[in-house]
């Protein structure tokens, strides 16, 4: 026999105003898969594929920032490699800033001329 009364009140986005992403990632992607009489493969649904991609899309953005640790065991991910990426990122950003600054200089020269 369980003791349901010990549970704290719902937190966050449960109920009517629940975050759709929280619900979809659970009901579409988790839970037990067992075939009923109506055969349907959720992965064949185009919208679901798109929406599920939306759920995961931000992973690319995070990867750009070097935050990719959820893909491996945190203890396996090397801090050194991350620092290396951060340095490379900084170098590239400096290079971009230089390149972006270049046309401004050209313009100023034009003004002076």
């Amino acid at each position: 026999m369980t003791t349901p009364n010990r549970l704290p009140d719902p937190y966050g986005s449960q109920g009517g105003g629940a975050n759709l992403a929280d619900i979809l990632e659970r009901v579409l992607d988790k839970g037990v898969v067992i075939a009923g009489d109506i055969k349907i493969n959720l992965l064949d649904i185009e919208l679901l594929t798109i929406k599920l991609r939306l759920i995961v899309a931000s992973v690319d953005k995070a990867k750009e920032m070097g935050i990719d640790w959820w893909e491996d065991d945190p203890s396996l991910s090397s801090g050194a490699r991350r620092r290396e990426l951060a340095e490379e990122n900084e170098r590239l950003q400096r290079r971009i800033a230089d390149l972006e600054a270049a046309p401004a200089r050209v313009e100023r020269k034009d003004d002076e001329a």
Binding site: R6, L7, Q14, L24, L42
Partner: protein, 271 residues
């Protein structure tokens, strides 16, 4: 005969009744179908929506999908308040009660194992967001156009300086968010019986502010839930740029699939 059986979840026979006021699909209260040592939580649904061909079409309709997903969750959430519930994936449909019994027979051993493993446990969701611009007056930084709504910079150098300082501020927030995510996940995993890391959510779907950095689920005994919630509160810093969001208690969705045919995500979940 134009009604089908939608199966929300599987439980064991339990003392007590369905929570009052629970409405599933079509606004109908769910029903318990006993079969041997298992109980299916079912509802009648119209064949015009849930037979194979219309169901495929319906699932492409985001409004319909949203309503269906919310009804599915509402029933499972309500069941979780009264007993240990194994949630089934959305849109598990049988033609009639005999079909539901066949489903329970087919999955019997899996359901029993999973119920044993999940008995007395619930799922809590913990997310960390990095929000480099916590002021709601400012727009979120788009990757394509970092628009500066404030006064135009006086010179190119000013412009670059401004961009550099805002980039440094953003990077600080990202670093703090990542550090907090590691701490939270390490501490909370110790207090949980299992943990699962989900992909971070995209704000276009979640409509949450900032960038989701950690999206984790923890399997926690009901009786330890209050301490778990308190621990999340204790570990949450006062930081305008980094936000912690707690959701739950959920049915143990993220831990229900492991014993059976685990998907790639469940298989990768840490224990």
């Amino acid at each position: 005969m134009n009604e089908l059986r939608y199966v929300y979840a599987v439980t064991r026979p339990f003392d007590g009744v369905l929570p009052e006021g629970v409405r599933g699909l079509g606004g109908e209260p769910p029903r318990l179908l006993d079969h041997g040592d298992l109980v299916a939580v079912v509802g009648a649904v119209p064949a015009e929506d849930f037979a194979e061909a219309p169901l495929k079409k319906r699932l492409e309709d985001l409004d319909w999908l949203t309503a269906t997903a919310r009804a599915h969750e509402a029933v499972i959430g309500a069941m979780t308040t009264v007993t240990c519930t194994v949630p089934l994936r959305l849109a598990t449909v049988c033609v009639d009660d005999s079909g539901v019994r066949r489903l329970l027979d087919a999955g019997h051993d899996r359901f029993v194992t999973t119920l044993e493993r999940l008995e007395g446990r619930v799922e809590w969701g913990v997310k960390v967001y990095a929000d480099p611009q916590p002021d709601p007056a400012e727009s979120r930084p788009g990757p394509a156009a970092p628009a500066e709504p404030s006064a135009a910079p006086a010179s190119g150098r000013d412009y670059l300086r401004r961009r550099l300082s805002s980039r440094q501020a953003r990077e600080g927030v990202w670093e703090r968010a990542e550090a907090l995510s590691r701490t939270l996940h390490a501490e909370l995993s110790q207090r949980a019986q299992a943990a699962a890391l989900h992909r971070p959510q995209d704000s276009r779907l979640s409509e949450a502010r900032g960038q989701n950095v950690l999206n984790a689920a923890y399997l926690v005994p009901r009786e330890s839930s209050q301490e778990f919630v308190a621990e999340v509160g204790r570990l949450t810093p006062q930081d305008r740029g980094v936000r912690v969001e707690l959701t739950g208690p959920w049915a143990p969705y993220s831990f229900a699939g492991q014993a059976g045919q685990a998907g790639p995500d469940e298989a990768g979940a840490s224990r």
